[in-house]
Symmetry: C2
Subunit: 340 residues, 2 copies
Amino acid sequence: MRFGLFQTAQWPEGTDQHEQYHNAIEQSVLADELGYDAVWMTEHHFTRHSITSDSLALLSHLAARTERIRLGTAVSVLPFHDPVRLAESTALVDHLSEGRLDVGIGRGYQWSEYHGFGLRLDEGSDRFEEVLDVLLRSWQANEPFAHDGKYFRYDAAFPQPRPLQQPHPPLWYATGSDAGLRRCAENGWGVMLPQATPPSTVADTIQRFGTQLQAVGIPSTAGRTVLARGMYCAPTDDEAVDTYVPAYRDTLQLAAQVSAPPTPVDGGAPRNPFQVDDPSALRDGIVCGNPDSCAAALQTLADAGADYVIFFVNLGGMQHDAVMQSLRLFADEVMPRFAS
Amino acid sequence: MRFGLFQTAQWPEGTDQHEQYHNAIEQSVLADELGYDAVWMTEHHFTRHSITSDSLALLSHLAARTERIRLGTAVSVLPFHDPVRLAESTALVDHLSEGRLDVGIGRGYQWSEYHGFGLRLDEGSDRFEEVLDVLLRSWQANEPFAHDGKYFRYDAAFPQPRPLQQPHPPLWYATGSDAGLRRCAENGWGVMLPQATPPSTVADTIQRFGTQLQAVGIPSTAGRTVLARGMYCAPTDDEAVDTYVPAYRDTLQLAAQVSAPPTPVDGGAPRNPFQVDDPSALRDGIVCGNPDSCAAALQTLADAGADYVIFFVNLGGMQHDAVMQSLRLFADEVMPRFAS
C-alpha cells in the first residue's frame, strides 16, 4: 500500500497565512523524510477553506525541499486555468522535480470560486473539456498549433518546455461515475476516488473501475486509484478523536458553506466532495485513532481494493506539532504493517 | 552598487531543456552564495529564445534553494496573465521567499508570443493597463471585489494570500519614456531601464527619471533603477570577448527574429529591447572583459547614475562551466571595488 499527504493550507480566523504555508511545507518535507510516497496539493481560491491558490508554485518549492517524494496536484481545477499556461507550468515543475509530478484534474465544486472568477458552475463541464483537450495537445505538440474554441483561442501556441515524463505526467481524474471511470480506463488515467465516502462506496467504485479496465484488457486496478482520507494517529483512540474530529467537522462545514450557491438558480453544482450524507458515519470516512485502529481502518480500505491512500492532515484547527507527531507515529507504527 | 542576474534559460538547437533549467538554477544558487543581490527571471513563451514560461514557478523553486538573494520577475508580461491569478501567484511566492520578491512588469515585445496566445500586439497596452489595475487591486483587497473590464470579469474575487510585503512586493516598470518615468515617480515604482543601450542613453534616462522624481519631492534616483547588461568576466579581454560576444550576438539575432511580425500590418510593435541600432556599438552595451575592463565598464555606468546592474549571463551558446567561472571571477575581483 502507498501513502501520501492530501496537503492543503487552510486559513482559519485568527491564524497567520505565512505560518500556514510554513506548516504545510514542513509537514511535506517530513513526509518525504519518513518514507511517505507523495504530497498532493489542493488548489483553492478566495476563502479561508484553503489558500493554496497556485498549487504548482507550492509544488515547485517542494521539489527543491524534498528528495524522492512524488508531487501531485489535487486537483488542478481545469475550468480556472488557461490550458497553454497550465501545460507550461506543469511541464516546468515536472522538470524541476526530476519527473516527480502527477497531475490531478477536476471541475471544482465551490460556487464561491466559480463566482469569484466570474464563471457559472454550469459551464464548468464545457470548460473542463476544452482545457483538457488543449492541455493534452500542448504537452505533446511537436510544432506550433492553432486552436479556436469556445473559451480559448491560440494562433500558434508551442508551449515549452515539453514535460520530462513522456508523453506527459500521469493524469488522475477525480471521478466516481461510470462514464468517468470508463474514460480513465480507456485513456490510461488514474482515478482520484470520491472523498469522505464509507468503505462500501470505495469498494463499489473500485469494482466498477475494475470492470471498465477489464473491458479494455487491463486485469487489475492496482496502481490506478488514489483515495483521499482524513487521518490522525495518536497514542490513544480518545486522544486521536478528540484532537482530529472537531477540526475535521469544521472543515466539512466550511467546505459546505463555500460550495453552496446562495440560490439554486445556476444549477449544475457538482457534489461537494466533503459532503457526508450521514454525519454519524463521519468516522467511517476517516483513518483516526491509535496505531491499531488506524491499521484496522486501512485494512478495511485495502479489502475494498484501495492500494494508495493520501491523508488530509493539515486541517485549519489542528496544531502543527500535533500533525507532525501524527505523521511520525503513523510512519513508525502503521506504515510498516502495509509494506508492499 | 548592487549586482544581480538577469537570468533566463534559452534552448538552442541541439541542447536539452532539462539541462538548461539545471544550469540556470545552479548559476542562481551560486550567485546567492557569492553575494550577488538578486536573480531576476525572464518570462518567455513558445520559442528557443527562452523556456522560462512560468517564471514564478522557477522563483518559487529558487526561494527554497537560496538563502538571502532577492528574486524578481523580469518581467511578468502582464498582457499574458489573468491578473487575479498573477496576484495569487506573486503573493504566494512572496510568502515562500520570506518577502524576497520583486515584480517587474512590462508589455512584452515578441510578436511570436502575442500571436501564439491569439493576441494582437496593438492590444498589448490596453491589456497591460487592465491587468495592472486588477493586480494592484487584488494585492490590496480587504474584501471580495467585482470587476467588469474589457478583457476580464470577476464577480467576487478575493485573491489569497495577501502579499507578505505590504502593501505589495516592489514593482519595477520596464520603461524609458518620459510618460513611463513619470508614472514610476508618481507611484513609487522602480524603473527597469532599457537594455543594450549605450551608457549615454543610460545617463539620459536616469537624468530624466531624476527630474520626474524631483517633481514629486524625491531627491535622488538611488535605489530606484535597475539596468540589465550582458556580462562576462574572464582572465583576459580576448578570452572574454571570444567566449561571450558570439553568444550574445546570436541571442540578439534570435530575439529579433521572434520579435518581428511577418508583416507590419498589426502595427504597434514595442521596441525589441535587444535591438542594437549600431552593431559596432555592441560592446558598449555589455560588461565584458578581464576584471579591470569589467570594472571600467561598470564605472562608466555608475557615472551615468546606475546603481543596480543585473547581468545576462546564461546565453544559449554559453557553456555552463564558463558562466560559473565568470560569476566567481566577477564576485572575487570586481564586486569588491563597488562595495557600498
